[in-house]
Amino acid sequence: MADEASKIDHKRHLLLDQPLLRLPYELLRKNFRSAHFTTEWDAAFVKNLLKDTATGSLNAKTPPEDVVKNLDVMLARMRGLKRKLTTNAEEEARLYRQLDARVAHLRELSGMHTVDDVRYESWSRQRLDRLMIDYLLRHGYNASATALANERQMQDLVDIDTFVSMSKIRTALEGGSVQEALAWCADNKKELRKLKSNLEFMLRCQQYIELLRAEQPGKTTEAIAYAKKFIVPFNETYPAEVLHIIGLLTFGPETRLPAYARYYSPDRWSQLAAIFVDAHNKLLGLPSFPLLHIALSSGLSALKTPACHGAEATASSTPGHGTSLTASVCPICSTELNELARNVPYAHHDKSHVASDLMVLPNNRVYGQARIQECAAKAGLGPNHVKDLVTGQVYPADKLKKVFIT
């Protein structure tokens, strides 16, 4: 009851849940910037054309027929703006709906004070679902993520759309296409510059490399023109790299020179994909690796004990051979997680955690007296014998010896 470790520290319990609110907020801002940009652009255009047309009409330079034409241009422009703004408004509504759902979900936790609260389990299960969906999406397992979100009816608590668009661009890169990623760079130019991301430069270099890889007469000229237009402008930021890659002109795909041969490596595509993912996540304030990884590496360590990978079976490590009295089996010893936990450090403890009534059996195995007696009773052994909970060996009860743990 008075288990201090069971208390929920609300201020610090929601570390893994930060992206839950940060992401829709970032997307709200991004969505707004795009709405603002198109509005300003189109408004300036329409206002200017309107002014010019009115002036032209007033001093009879623009005949009414042309005024109608200009008005049609303005109308087309405004209808375009309306379409784009409507999309933005829908996205905004969706994000606010998500925020409402997410704040409500986080608020449920405020009503719980210990992890023993029955409601905490279902809340924590939902958190695991969120972490799994985040993991699935980051790996591009979009169908699985969508299926799980639908099954659990938690679409507003996960970011399927964001990750699906991200994985489209990533898959395009892995398949050798830079167009999608370049378009994304153009959409996020300012922010990428703030992040000092080298993504666009790397993409441009790749296009240049591909032109040289073709090794056709016309292509080299094209490559030179391309480098002038798209690579040289990066000279201020990456002078050494620009100089180096321009030099690639003289080294075809067959080059043995490692410094140049690496440019032609097909591995560059997966590297580009990784650079893109990294920039994407930074831009949206997402952790650089899956939240499930963070939770697991922390949780596996907290649960792990030196015994979990030891040779000796203990009452908590063997579900199949133990008895039903060993009610709960250690998750680290389980088939599911044992291998995964092999290389994480084990938990640190300052105090012993053992039953208060320990007895040692002649085979040197130690158990709580109450548990041994209960087990003996269930096995129908009678009061004068006890049974080892793990090995099943039976001993006379008077061979037990008390163990003192200080």
Binding site: L21, F32, A54, L71, Y141, P290, L292, S298, R365, V366
Partner: protein, 434 residues
């Protein structure tokens, strides 16, 4: 979170982009009207009049749109401030992803979790998708600036002896994943789920059948599940048709229960004689169970929940699995331990010391009692946990010390216990298994 919800409610009252859309619509209306006017007359004079008159309203309308956008942005900023205030950003681990090397092991854990949660169709979708991805390309790659180019494509270090020694190398784990798809595990969990569904609907039949057909294994584990189920069936029948909703015939009610007891309790007479007598004796109190000493035995709700959880436990145990999802426990423990980890990381950063990963965490991560699965022995002298290399030793007086401590404490072959006046021989110390 309450204050954040209030802030969000406030923000929700503010203007949205949809207002700007309405005002853009107004501009379109004005432009259309003007266009119609000009197009119908095509008269230079009225045209220039129309166009001059159009200027100001359009200008005002655009200003309106601008104001809309300002307020929308204001709402976002208000929300941003509320987030910063009530849900301030705290750092998460970002330098090293210890899990990145094991996507196959994590995939397997997720697939198992989905299966034990009864999410069979999601599990199947996932297994297909994960296998598909692993045959095409390494699905997830971490960007690591320090890694040389040519290493980037290796999802796992094949020279790592640990990984080769384990049965979980990339190839075999993929097989593993497909074995989850095709083999019995899925069928088994499906069986478990249908039995649990029936239990929820208060139908003990399938659970009893299962327990009976596995009675040897259950008995070997010292499990009383079969008896507990039969006992509950007896009580359930005893309650009669008004409570259990079963047909009102000779197989229900008190006589039905008695008949059931005769047919089923006999096998358990040996081991549960006293309890059976007790239960059958309850017949005498039949009219007034709630006030009788049998109140506990006849409380139904808890009993159904208890058999359901011991059924799950036994079912999973016979499959060699734990009853609770390890992934769930680990993720929950992670959420509880993470704040301690981050606090430690911050402190180390402030002190300029590096957080190196050793065998043992350098900080405590307190977990609730029920998440401590093993006995943990910390040597009271060395203040260190015992390990296989440095196991717990019990000296003749019954006190326990770590082996290394013992070696340090002993003088020659004699040993003085630091916790009681007793003295003994080092050869009499015995290594114990906690």
């Amino acid at each position: 979170m309450d204050s954040l919800q209030h802030a969000l409610a406030e923000v929700n009252k503010m203007r949205r982009l949809s207002t700007a859309v309405d005002h853009v619509d107004k501009i379109i209306e004005m432009l259309s009207t003007a266009r119609e006017q000009v197009a119908t007359t095509l008269d230079p004079h009225t045209t220039s009049l129309t166009m001059t008159k159009l200027q100001n309203p359009i200008k005002v309308a655009f200003e309106r749109v601008n104001e809309d956008l300002k307020e929308v942005s204001g709402a976002h900023k208000k929300l941003g401030r509320a987030l910063d205030k009530h849900f301030p950003l705290k750092p998460l681990p970002s330098d090293h992803d210890a899990m990145a090397e094991y996507p196959d092991l994590i995939n397997r854990a997720i697939a198992m979790h989905l299966l034990r949660e009864g999410q069979f169709s999601v599990a199947s979708t996932f297994i297909d998708e994960a296998q598909d991805a692993s045959t095409h390309h390494a699905p997830y790659q971490r960007l690591d600036a320090d890694t040389p180019d040519d290493d980037l494509d290796e999802p796992m270090d094949e020279d790592d002896p640990d990984m080769n020694a384990s049965p979980f190398t990339t190839a075999s784990t993929n097989q593993d994943l497909s074995s989850l798809q095709s083999q019995e595990l899925q069928t088994k969990f499906a069986e478990m789920y249908s039995i649990l569904q029936e239990l929820k609907a208060r139908n003990l039949g399938p659970a009893i059948d299962w327990a009976r057909s596995n009675s040897d294994e259950l008995e070997a584990r010292g499990s009383n599940l079969e008896f507990e189920l039969i006992k509950l069936q007896f009580v359930w029948l005893f309650k009669g048709p008004l409570v259990n909703g079963l047909p009102d015939n000779e197989r229900n009610g008190r006589s039905g229960a008695l008949d059931y007891a005769r047919r089923n309790f006999s096998r358990f007479q040996g081991r549960h004689f006293a309890e059976i007598n007790r239960l059958v004796g309850a017949m005498a109190f039949a009219s007034n169970i709630p006030d009788s000493p049998y109140k506990q035995d006849f409380a139904i709700d808890g009993a159904f929940m208890d058999v359901a959880s011991s059924f799950t436990r036994e079912f999973c145990s016979l499959l060699g699995l734990s009853a609770e999802s390890p992934l769930y426990i680990a993720a929950t423990a992670g959420a509880l331990a993470l704040p301690y980890q981050m606090k430690f990381v911050e402190m180390s950063k402030a002190k300029g010391t590096e957080w190196t990963t050793a065998n043992e965490l350098a900080f405590e991560t307190p977990l609730p009692e029920r998440m401590l699965y093993h006995s943990i022995f910390v040597c009271p002298v060395a203040k260190e946990q015992t390990t296989e290399a440095n196991p717990p030793m019990m000296i003749p007086c019954g006190h326990v010390l770590a082996k290394e401590t013992l070696q340090r404490l002993c003088k020659g072959s004699r040993l003085k216990c630091p916790y009681c006046p007793s003295e003994g021989q080092i050869k009499d110390a015995r290594q114990i298994i906690l």
